[in-house]
Subunit: 271 residues, 2 copies
């Protein structure tokens, strides 16, 4: 998928919402546990009701790996379902991979070829040759961790000296790897004071912003700081949508939550 395809879809749906599929078999409605594949059954139900309100889905790979072979099968079915029935929707494998070139090629093969995701989150610590294998695919994106929204982000990403921010160094150096047609960035929504600085370094790149919702970011402030004339942001919500109800109406309640976010997002979209 190209950036233009993604922006078109955002304008059509008037939404830049990404729904995080952090599907934990211990948290899904009990009624699904009789299914052959409860995790896929849950994801399918969530996709079926929420897709009018979002432009991206982001399975969190850890939750699938925690289920071993069965989890990997649920992941294959989920991405297969999305690619077959909703090819217009942007898919993100939230895997935060990062390893030397030879190994990164294997991850790229797994997520971009076999599973056919549109994008993968990538950790920058190991530098250029750990990122480049993900940049070789036309229409696929590496989404590099820049500034994350967790407390530990302050251990290494942010420095006491304002002119020596590691997250800014990651942004600056990575612009030498590729441009906005291949690279996006994870930027925590809880730190809008940094978003303006980030926009100066990567004015055209999409930012994937987690943390609006469960982690307490403010949608309006984030939009004002981060949006570009080609939108430039995807806002993720996971638990606040998919676990809004554990009753038999879970998929409809999830759609309701997604719709509320979509309607709020529509206010900030210009044409």
């Amino acid at each position: 998928m190209t950036l233009d395809n993604l922006v078109s879809e955002i304008r059509k749906k008037r939404s830049f919402l990404c729904v995080g599929l952090d599907t934990d078999v211990k948290k899904i409605p009990e009624q699904l546990l009789i299914e052959d594949d409860p995790v896929f059954a849950f994801n399918k139900a969530i996709i079926d009701t929420t897709h009018p309100y979002c432009v991206a889905y982001k399975p969190n790979i850890a939750f699938y790996e925690a289920q071993g072979v069965n989890g990997w099968r649920s992941l294959e079915k989920t991405i297969g379902y999305l690619n077959h029935y909703h090819p217009e929707i942007f898919t993100i494998a939230d895997a935060k991979r990062g390893d030397i070139g030879n190994t990164a090629h294997q991850y790229a093969s797994a997520f971009f070829e076999d599973l056919d995701f549109d994008s993968l989150t990538v950790a920058p610590y190991m530098g250029r040759d750990s990122v480049e294998p993900f940049l070789a695919y036309e229409g696929k994106f590496a989404i590099l961790l820049a500034l994350t929204s967790n407390p530990g982000a302050f251990d290494f990403q942010v420095n006491e000296e304002v002119d020596k921010q590691l997250f800014e160094k990651v942004l600056k150096i990575s612009t030498e790897y590729a441009n906005a047609e291949r690279l996006m960035y994870v930027v925590g929504a809880t730190k809008t004071e940094y978003i303006r600085a980030i926009r100066k370094i990567v004015p055209d790149s999409f930012l994937l912003i987690p943390g609006v919702g469960a982690q307490g970011g403010d949608l309006k402030a984030v939009c004002e700081a981060a949006m570009t004339d080609k939108v430039g942001i995807l806002i993720n919500s996971s638990r606040g949508i998919i676990y809004a109800s554990r009753d038999s109406d879970f998929a409809e309640v999830a759609a309701g939550r997604a719709q509320v976010l979509q309607e709020e997002m529509a206010k900030y979209l210009t044409d």
Copy 2:
């Protein structure tokens, strides 16, 4: 496994060799392709012949994920075989995971509970709460990336200002997370000039050192700089051992390569 167990095994075998199981179905001998599970058949043969000469095995998880459900099954069988027949051997899931606490818990569950690895490589970029879930397991280790051996290591880990090294900051701050009974570090062997500095910050921790062999490190220099009175190092070799031959004698040739390294290592072990 405790550190004392690992050190005892090293002294018994007179080896601190780790064999990397970067098993690529495209690189294994053709004769194995008729097996039900060629990747496991290869790993089993390699383990059967090399285990007298090494104290650790390190499956590189990317190579298994690239094979999807089948790959995950090969991984389960490989770690199951090691834990059943060679419980004295230290096992490392080379996965370089790193994500927020909630997600890291899922990875810890996958690798430490379900698969029952002794350790997991972890990327430090997201800080304390992304590492802590791996530190909660008695007898299990997080092996944190400090200084890696690839060219991209110089993008972020190493700074122009010698007193502002990111890899040193990672070492220093992580000593506040846990001690040598829970934390080890990945340190690239191609940079022995840094190893002495690293030893000052983490005098007791084990270092997992890749890059001797295919990446050109020098075993003697590494040992002089990195060994402690409780050994303190594991040296990994992957391709140089497991792909030493593609003929029917591949497992014996691999064992020969491992033995050469073991005999060299024995020279540097005291007692």
